[in-house]
Amino acid sequence: SVRNEMALANAQQLINKCNEKCFQKCVTKPGTSLSGSEETCLSRCIDRYLEAFNVVSRAYTDRLKERQERP
């Protein structure tokens, strides 16, 4: 269905962005494998990025609702 396709595309874009931002932040000098501290940083970064996505998403949709109630 169109709804499922869009939800999948949305999830894929979120994963790609999260990957890009967390690699940028946590792996500053790429070595021959991911170190323990790099993996700890990545784990935290992933949680924080998904949280940031939810905070931003809620702030934006709340704003749009406000604008509909007080045009």
Binding site: V2, R3, M6, N10, Q13, L14, K17, K21, C22, K25, C26, C41, R44, C45, D47, R48, Y49, E51, A52, F53, V55, V56, S57, A59, Y60, T61, R63, L64
Partner: protein, 81 residues
């Protein structure tokens, strides 16, 4: 296509496209606000200043957009007089 009249199909497509633009904006805003607000190494939770920066970020961006449009219109008015 008897079960799905042309008009309802057009409305459905319009709504799905609006939802897609919304999703796209949320990704763009998350990217921008992450870069602006989360400047240090990630921790097990956001600091108070990171959390308030993230929740204010989109609204201040939209306020900036309104400010810009208002300024441009004021300059147009002034150039007409």
């Amino acid at each position: 296509m008897d079960a799905f009249p042309q008009k309802e199909l057009a409305t459905f497509v319009e709504n799905e496209q609006a939802q897609q633009r919304l999703n796209s904006s949320i990704h763009t805003f998350t990217d921008m606000c992450w870069d602006k607000c989360v400047t240090g190494l990630p921790s097990t939770q956001f600091s108070r200043s990171e959390a308030s920066c993230l929740s204010n970020c989109v609204n201040r961006f939209l306020d900036t957009s309104l400010f810009l449009v208002k300024k441009i219109e004021e300059q147009r008015e002034a150039s007409r007089n």
